[in-house]
Amino acid sequence: MLQRQVIRKFLLGIIAIILSGCSTMGVQPWDRDLLAKPEMAINSSPLDQAIDDHIYFSKEASSGGRSFAGGGCGCN
């Protein structure tokens, strides 16, 4: 009983640390020089991405996750 209470409070403490960590994770606005580069964008190669999505949608049973899945060309 006491152990469960201790565990619960410990977990709450951990979650508080993670959440406060998330709000402190990041950089100052003027330290975004590297992140500003187009190569560091999440979708830095949209043409390759579109082509890869199309190829793998046609050859495998999975799609999406990264952007929207499916939408069909009904390719073989």
Binding site: I42, A50, I55, G64, G70, C73
Partner: protein, 429 residues
């Protein structure tokens, strides 16, 4: 500050006029169109080859809004496995249209070259700010080929937090597809009618063939949800986590694929058209990390997918871009993919067993491992950027070398590997 509703309505109106022709408000004379173009060739030796051209254009219409379009044209030739297994003797198959047949040699995987050939696609997207730190994107996609068409609408909202160090986004997508195969949709599990001289005339064949044909068209609808969290970790690193859910329903069967029905000696007695469930729900979780080292950028992503067809897959994708000069780079690429078979996947049907409710021998829903190895080189051409990408893709079924329980089948290649070479050129201007 304008009330939000009016602000959005104005923006949507602007979007409409911009799409129809020419922005209604004072033109931003310094903002021009940015274009990118890509030409792709995809070759599976002895199987399918494809060529594709993509053109993308985008333009900023104000501080916060951007319009972009994408046009794709692709063309397929060659042949693709039809699901039948190879035999020690040549096999004859009727084309899906019912007009004509083709013969597969002994000891080779049956490949059908009758399928959709040329496709055109157009995509339009509009992005704008909703309020401070909040953006939305709406887009539409239309794809058309000889026997298939698809239309979809997507909407996405993104909100920044912590001085834009964190972004939460949510998107919804709805797609409606229609299949109009030449020769109509086959009746599931009906036997392929093959003219081996048993018909007195063409009409008799046609009657028999038409008995295996159902509706001339069918539809597929998809609804998808995607939720994402992007987080900047430090000056060099960012990461993204997404959760996606997709619900597809309608005609999910492949009308061109069959299964071989074999006897105890491994001899094909019949060919039946496949049948898949009319609904599929998928969940995906995705994670990506990008890290900027001193002279290179590294990224790695992982995606896990699970669905109610019992398919689970793992995808690991990684790139490492090395800067080799002010304007050039070399980027190796590696992708690993593994999937477990759909519960209705089976390489053939044994004559002795009872017919299942659903079955498909399409290798693309089977157990498989695939890997891609590629390299991309980026350079300056005239005053603009160009890139060349070369990739090798190899897919290996995981059921290879598994005894089938039927002696004569064990000597045949029931699980062929598929490999492909991809060559792509990008140009930005």
């Amino acid at each position: 500050m304008k009330p939000n509703k009016k602000y959005i309505a104005e923006k949507l109106a602007l979007a409409a006029t911009a799409l129809i022709g020419g922005a209604a408000h004072a033109q931003d004379t310094d903002s021009e169109w940015d274009f990118s173009a890509s030409v792709l060739t995809y070759v599976e030796p002895d199987r399918v080859s494809a060529a594709e051209v993509i053109i993308v254009g985008d333009k900023d219409y104000s501080d916060t809004n951007k319009f972009s379009f994408k046009v794709i044209l692709d063309s397929l030739t060659g042949a693709s496995a039809n699901g039948a297994i190879e035999q020690n003797t040549p096999q004859t198959f009727t084309r899906p249209s019912g007009k004509g047949q083709f013969v597969t040699n002994a000891n080779s995987t049956p490949l059908d070259d009758t399928f959709r050939d040329t496709r055109g696609q157009i995509n339009l997207a509009w992005t704008d700010a909703l309020m401070e730190d909040m953006r939305y994107t709406i887009s539409t996609n239309l794809s058309k080929e000889f026997d298939y068409q698809s239309i979809s609408f997507n909407g996405e909202i993104a909100r920044d937090f912590n001085q834009k160090n964190s972004t939460i986004s949510a998107g919804l997508s709805f797609a409606s597809d229609q299949y109009n195969p030449y020769g109509k949709i086959p009746v599931p599990f009906s036997s392929m009618v093959i003219d081996e001289g048993q018909f007195a005339n063409q009409d008799e064949f046609n009657t028999a063939f038409n008995a295996t044909r159902g509706d001339s068209s069918d539809t597929i609808t998809t609804a998808e949800l995607l939720i994402g969290w992007t987080q900047i970790v430090n000056r060099r690193m960012l990461m993204q986590f997404n959760y996606g859910f997709a619900d597809t329903s309608g005609y999910l069967t492949d009308p061109f694929k069959v299964l071989s029905v074999v006897d105890n000696n491994g001899i094909t007695q019949d060919l039946v058209y496949e049948n898949r469930p009319d609904s599929r729900n998928q969940h995906t979780v995705f994670g990506l990390v990008k890290y900027h080292l001193d002279e290179s950028i590294f990224d790695i992503s992982y995606r896990y997918l699970t669905d109610d067809w019992d398919i689970q897959s793992h995808t690991i994708d990684t790139h490492w871009r090395f800067f080799t000069g002010d304007t050039s780079f070399i980027e190796p690429h590696f992708r690993f993919y593994q999937q477990s078979a759909a519960e209705f996947y089976q390489p053939f049907i044994s004559q002795a067993s009872t017919m299942p409710s659903y079955a498909s021998a399409d290798y693309r829903v089977g157990d498989m491992t695939a890997y891609t190895l590629g390299v991309k080189y980026g350079f300056q051409m005239f005053e603009d950027r160009a890139e060349v990408r070369l990739e090798y893709y190899k897919q290996t079924p995981n059921k290879a070398n598994q005894p089938t329980g039927i002696a004569n089948l064990d000597g045949l290649d029931l699980y062929p590997e598929v490999d492909a070479i991809i060559l792509q050129v990008n140009y930005f201007f």
